[in-house]
C-alpha cells in the first residue's frame, strides 16, 4: 500500500472518530460544556486584553517601544520553540513507542517508515495545537497594535505551519536516537542526573542578589540591558527568529523580507522532515524492537545499580516507617504510590521538565535588571514569584495528583475491598501529595525570597501562603479527581485508565485546572491588595504595616480551608457510595 493511500485511510478513520467525539459533547453535561466554553472564551478575551495592555505600555516608551514589542515576539517564539521541542518529544515517545495502535500498525502490510510518517504528523498536530491556541491572543494583540490588515493573520497562520514542523522533526529525531541507542533505564538515570544537576546549579549557583544601581531615570539603560540579555533570541540560526522576523516584516508590509523568512522556514521544515523520515527508515523499527526487548541493564556503577532495586532494599519502607501516625495499611498505600511513581519513567520525564523550567526561572531571577532598591519592584517580583510557583504547582497537581484516583481504576476492587476502604485511600493520596507539594513550594519560596532579600516577615507570610496553597491545590486535585474519575466506560474501562496524560485531558482535568486557577487568583489578589494600597499611600513594605496583611492572610486561610475541605468532603462522600 502506498503512503498516500494509507494516509487517506487513516485520515478518514481519525476524522470520523473526531466527529463522533465532538458529537458526543451534546450528550455530556451542560456543566462540562460550559466549563470548556468558559475556559476558551475567558482565556481568549483576557489573553488578548493583557497582551494589548502590554503592547500599549511598550508603545508608550519613547524611541524603544517598537523595538521592545518586536523583541517580545522574538522572546515569545524562542520560548515557544523550546516548549514545542519538549512537547513533541514527550508526545512522540508515547505515540511511537508506547502506543497500542503503533504496535498494531506494525503487524499490517505497511512499511514501518509509513507508520513513522503518520505518527510524526499526528504528534506534530497533538503537540502544537494547544500552543497555537495559547498564542492566538498575542498574535491578535500584536496585529491590532500594528494596525495591520486582515491578510496579516492569514499569513501568520501559514507561517506557523512550517514553524511547528521543525520542532516536531527535531523532537522526533532525538526520540529515535534515544530509542535506538539508549537503554530505557539509562534514559531514566540520565533524566535523573539532569534533574539533580539542575538542582545543584540552583543550590550552589545562588549568590545573594546585588542591589542594582539603576534608578528610574536610567530606564533607557535598563531597557538596553533587557535588549542585550535577550539577544540570543534574535540569533539568525533560530527557527523562532525566522518566524518573528517574517511576522514583523508582514506587519510592516515589507513583502520581500517576509517572503524570504517564510522561504527559510519552509525549506528548513522540509529538510528537517526529510532528515527525520530518512533516519526513521534506519532507526524506527530498530528502536521499536529494541525498546520492547530490553532486559535488566547493569550500569556497572554499584550505587546506580543498587538504587534500581531501591524499593526492595527496604530503604523506602524504613523511610515511610519513620513517618509518624501511620498504621500498616496507610504505610502500604504510601509505599505503593511512591514505588509506582518511581518506576514510571514517562511520568518522570515530565516531572523533571517541570522542575528544570522552575529551576531556570529561579536562577534567572538575579538576572532581572529591575531597580531592586525600589521596594515596589522587590515586592512586586516576590508576588510574581508566589504566583508563578503556585501556577506551576497547579499544573503539577492537575497533571500528577488529579489522575491518581482514576489510575486506581483497575485496582480499585483490591483497594476498595480492603479493610481500610476507599476513604482512607483518598486521605492517603491527599496527605502524600500535600507533603510532596509543600516540600517543593516551600523550598522554592525560601530560595527566591533569599535571592530577592525579601524582609523576614514577608518571607514568613509567603511561606505560610504556599503551605496553605499546597494543601488547597492538592485537596482540589484529589477531590475533583475522585468526583470526576476517568475510568473509561463500558468495555474500555479496563484499558483506558493507564495513561495519566489522557485522564487529565478529560473534563475533570479541565475543571480541576480551572478551579485551581480561580483559587490562585483569589489568594494572590487578596494578599497583593493591601500591599498595593500601602504603596499607593506612599508607604514602604519594609516599614511593616502588618494589620491589613494579617487580615488578608486570615481571609486567604479561610478560602484555602474551604478549597481544601469542600472538594475532599464531597469526594469522601462520593467514594463511600461508589459501586465497584
Amino acid at each position: 500500500m502506498d503512503t498516500l493511500m494509507l494516509f487517506r485511510l487513516l485520515l478518514d478513520v481519525n476524522a470520523r472518530a473526531a466527529r463522533r467525539r465532538i458529537a458526543s459533547l451534546r450528550q455530556q453535561s451542560l456543566l462540562m460544556v460550559s466549563v470548556i466554553a468558559l475556559f476558551i472564551v475567558g482565556y481568549s478575551i483576557s489573553g488578548y486584553f493583557l497582551f494589548s495592555l502590554g503592547f500599549k505600555h511598550l508603545a508608550s516608551i519613547p524611541g524603544l517601544g517598537v523595538l521592545l514589542a518586536d523583541r517580545m515576539l522574538y522572546l515569545f517564539f524562542a520560548f515557544l520553540f523550546v516548549m514545542l521541542v519538549f512537547s513533541n518529544m514527550i508526545i512522540g515517545y508515547s505515540s511511537l513507542f508506547k502506543s497500542q495502535e503503533t504496535a498494531w500498525m506494525l503487524t499490517l502490510p505497511v512499511r514501518p517508515t509509513d507508520v513513522f510518517r503518520w505518527k510524526l504528523a499526528e504528534t506534530t498536530v497533538l503537540a502544537s495545537w494547544a500552543f497555537l491556541f495559547l498564542s492566538a491572543p498575542l498574535m491578535l494583540a500584536y496585529g491590532v497594535a500594528r494596525h495591520v490588515s486582515g491578510w496579516f493573520y492569514l499569513k501568520v497562520f501559514v507561517l506557523f505551519l512550517p514553524f511547528t514542523v521543525i520542532p516536531a522533526a527535531l523532537g522526533s529525531l532525538v526520540i529515535l536516537l534515544v530509542a535506538r541507542y539508549m537503554h530505557r533505564r539509562l534514559f531514566k538515570w540520565t533524566l535523573f542526573g539532569l534533574g539533580i544537576g539542575a538542582i545543584l546549579i540552583v543550590v550552589f549557583g545562588l549568590k545573594p542578589m546585588q542591589v542594582a544601581e539603576l534608578q528610574q531615570a536610567q530606564m533607557i539603560a535598563a531597557m538596553n540591558q533587557l535588549l542585550h540579555n535577550s539577544n540570543i533570541t534574535v540569533q539568525p540560526l533560530l527557527p523562532s527568529s525566522w518566524l518573528a522576523s517574517s511576522m514583523i516584516a508582514w506587519g510592516e508590509n515589507w513583502t520581500s523580507r517576509g517572503l524570504f523568512y517564510f522561504a527559510v522556514l519552509l525549506s528548513n521544515a522540509l529538510m528537517a522532515t526529510l532528515v527525520c523520515v530518512t533516519a526513521s527508515s534506519r532507526w524506527f523499527y530498530e528502536g521499536w524492537s529494541r525498546n520492547h526487548s530490553q532486559g535488566n541493564l547493569l550500569l556497572g556503577v554499584p550505587l546506580l545499580d543498587s538504587n534500581i532495586t531501591l524499593p526492595r532494599m527496604g530503604l523506602l519502607d524504613s523511610l515511610v516507617r519513620m513517618l509518624p501516625g501511620l498504621d500498616s495499611s496507610s504505610r502500604a498505600l504510601v509505599i505503593k504510590d511512591v514505588r509506582t511513581f518511581w518506576r514510571d519513567t514517562s511520568q518522570w520525564s515530565q516531572f523533571v521538565i517541570f522542575f528544570g523550567l522552575l529551576g531556570l526561572y529561579v536562577l534567572n531571577l538575579r538576572n532581572v535588571t529591575y531597580d531592586w532598591s525600589n521596594e515596589y519592584w522587590a515586592t512586586f517580583v516576590s508576588f510574581l514569584n508566589v504566583g508563578a510557583s503556585s501556577m506551576t504547582l497547579a499544573t503539577l497537581t492537575t497533571r500528577f495528583v488529579f489522575p491518581q484516583f482514576s489510575l486506581e481504576g483497575k485496582r480499585l476492587w483490591i483497594i476498595g475491598m480492603g479493610p481500610w476502604g476507599l476513604k482512607r485511600v483518598l486521605l492517603e493520596k491527599f496527605w502524600l501529595s500535600s507533603i510532596g507539594a509543600m516540600s517543593i513550594t516551600v523550598a522554592l519560596t525560601l530560595t527566591s525570597s533569599a535571592m530577592l532579600k525579601v524582609p523576614a516577615w514577608l518571607t514568613l507570610l509567603f511561606t505560610a501562603t504556599v503551605v496553605l496553597m499546597s494543601l488547597a491545590l492538592c485537596g482540589i486535585a484529589v477531590g475533583i479527581g475522585a468526583l470526576f474519575p476517568n475510568f473509561g466506560n463500558g468495555s474500555t474501562a479496563n484499558r483506558r485508565d493507564d495513561n495519566p496524560a489522557k485522564i487529565v485531558s478529560g473534563f475533570g482535568g479541565t475543571l480541576c485546572f480551572l478551579v485551581s486557577l480561580v483559587y490562585i487568583v483569589i489568594v494572590i489578589g487578596t494578599e497583593a491588595l493591601p500591599m498595593y494600597s500601602q504603596f499607593t499611600d506612599g508607604g514602604l513594605a519594609r516599614e511593616a504595616r502588618p494589620l491589613p496583611m494579617v487580615t488578608a492572610w486570615l481571609f486567604v486561610s479561610l478560602v484555602s480551608l474551604v478549597a481544601t475541605i469542600v472538594p475532599m468532603t464531597l469526594a469522601l462522600r462520593h467514594v463511600e457510595k461508589l459501586e465497584m
Partner: protein, 249 residues
C-alpha cells in the same frame, strides 16, 4: 508456511526464545503451549516481525519477515491477546478500514464482512460504537477482521479469553474450518483442552526452549503418560524444569 531457523531472542541476560527450529505446513493447525513466561508471546512477536531476533530468522510462506516484512504481512493475520481497536468506530467501519489496508476493494470487503458478521453473530452490533461493546464482542470483531482478507497464515494469541461458550465454539469451528481449507493456524494458548480438541500438532515451549513437538499421541508417548494432554504437558515441563535446574546447579 511457517519456518523458523535457530530463532533466538535475548532480553539482556535473559534468553526468552532459545534456538527455535520449527516447520509448520500449509493447512496445519499448530497449538503452541507452555507455562507462563515460557516465551510464547515473544515467539509470536518474532513471527509477526514485531521484534527483531537476536539470532536466526523466521519465514512466512517463504518470505523472511525481517527482509520482506510487507510481503510476509500481506499473508498473515495476527490476533494478539490484547487487540487494538478504534473505539469511536462501528464494527463495520473497522472492517472496511482493515480490508482497505490489505488492499481489498470496498465492495469485496462489504460482502466478506457481511458473511463474517453472520458467522460471528455480530449483526446486532453493526451500528454500535466499538467502545460500547463487551469484551467478548470486541474479541469477535477482532477475529472477524483478521479473517477478512483470507490470510494464508493466522497467528492467534489466547483467543478464547473472555468469550462465552457459544462464541468460543464459533471461533473454534471457524479456525478449524479455515485450517481444513488450507490456512495455517498458529495458536498460542494456556487452555490445554483447546489444543487437544483442535490441533494437528502441538509444540511445548519451556524457558524459551522447544522441549517437545508432535501430535497429541506422540506427546503422550514421549511423556510416558497415557491420559490427557494435561498429564503429558505437566510431565514434560517438569522434566525440562528439573533438567534446567540441574544444569544451572
Amino acid at each position: 508456511m511457517i519456518r523458523t531457523e535457530h530463532l533466538t531472542k535475548r532480553y539482556g541476560s535473559l534468553t526468552a526464545v532459545n534456538d527455535l527450529n520449527l516447520e509448520i505446513a500449509q493447512g496445519e493447525f499448530f497449538a503452541f503451549l507452555g507455562p507462563n513466561a515460557a516465551g510464547k508471546t515473544t515467539t509470536i512477536k518474532l513471527l509477526t516481525g514485531l521484534l527483531k531476533p537476536t539470532v536466526g530468522r523466521a519465514l512466512i510462506c517463504g518470505f523472511d519477515i525481517q527482509q520482506n516484512p510487507v510481503e510476509a504481512r500481506k499473508l498473515i493475520s495476527y490476533v494478539p491477546d490484547l487487540p487494538f481497536l478504534y473505539d469511536k468506530l462501528e464494527p463495520m467501519e473497522f472492517m472496511l478500514f482493515v480490508g482497505q489496508l490489505y488492499g481489498m476493494e470496498r465492495s469485496v470487503v462489504l460482502r466478506a464482512a457481511d458473511e463474517l458478521f453472520e458467522l460471528f453473530d455480530l449483526n446486532g452490533n453493526r451500528t454500535q460504537l466499538i467502545e460500547d461493546l463487551s469484551h467478548g464482542t470486541r474479541q469477535r470483531v477482532v477475529i472477524a477482521s483478521a479473517l477478512l482478507h483470507n490470510p494464508r497464515v493466522i497467528i492467534i494469541d489466547e483467543p478464547m479469553i473472555g468469550l462465552d461458550p457459544r462464541s468460543a465454539r464459533v471461533v473454534k469451528d471457524v479456525l478449524k474450518a479455515r485450517s481444513r481449507a488450507g490456512t495455517t493456524v498458529f495458536l498460542s494458548t494456556h487452555i490445554l483442552h483447546i489444543a487437544e480438541e483442535l490441533a494437528d500438532r502441538v509444540g511445548i515451549l519451556n524457558r524459551g526452549k522447544l522441549i517437545a513437538v508432535g501430535s497429541i499421541d506422540e506427546l503422550r508417548k514421549a511423556s510416558g503418560q497415557g491420559g490427557a494432554l494435561e498429564d503429558a504437558f505437566l510431565m514434560l515441563t517438569r522434566e525440562a524444569q528439573q533438567a534446567g535446574t540441574l544444569v544451572e546447579s
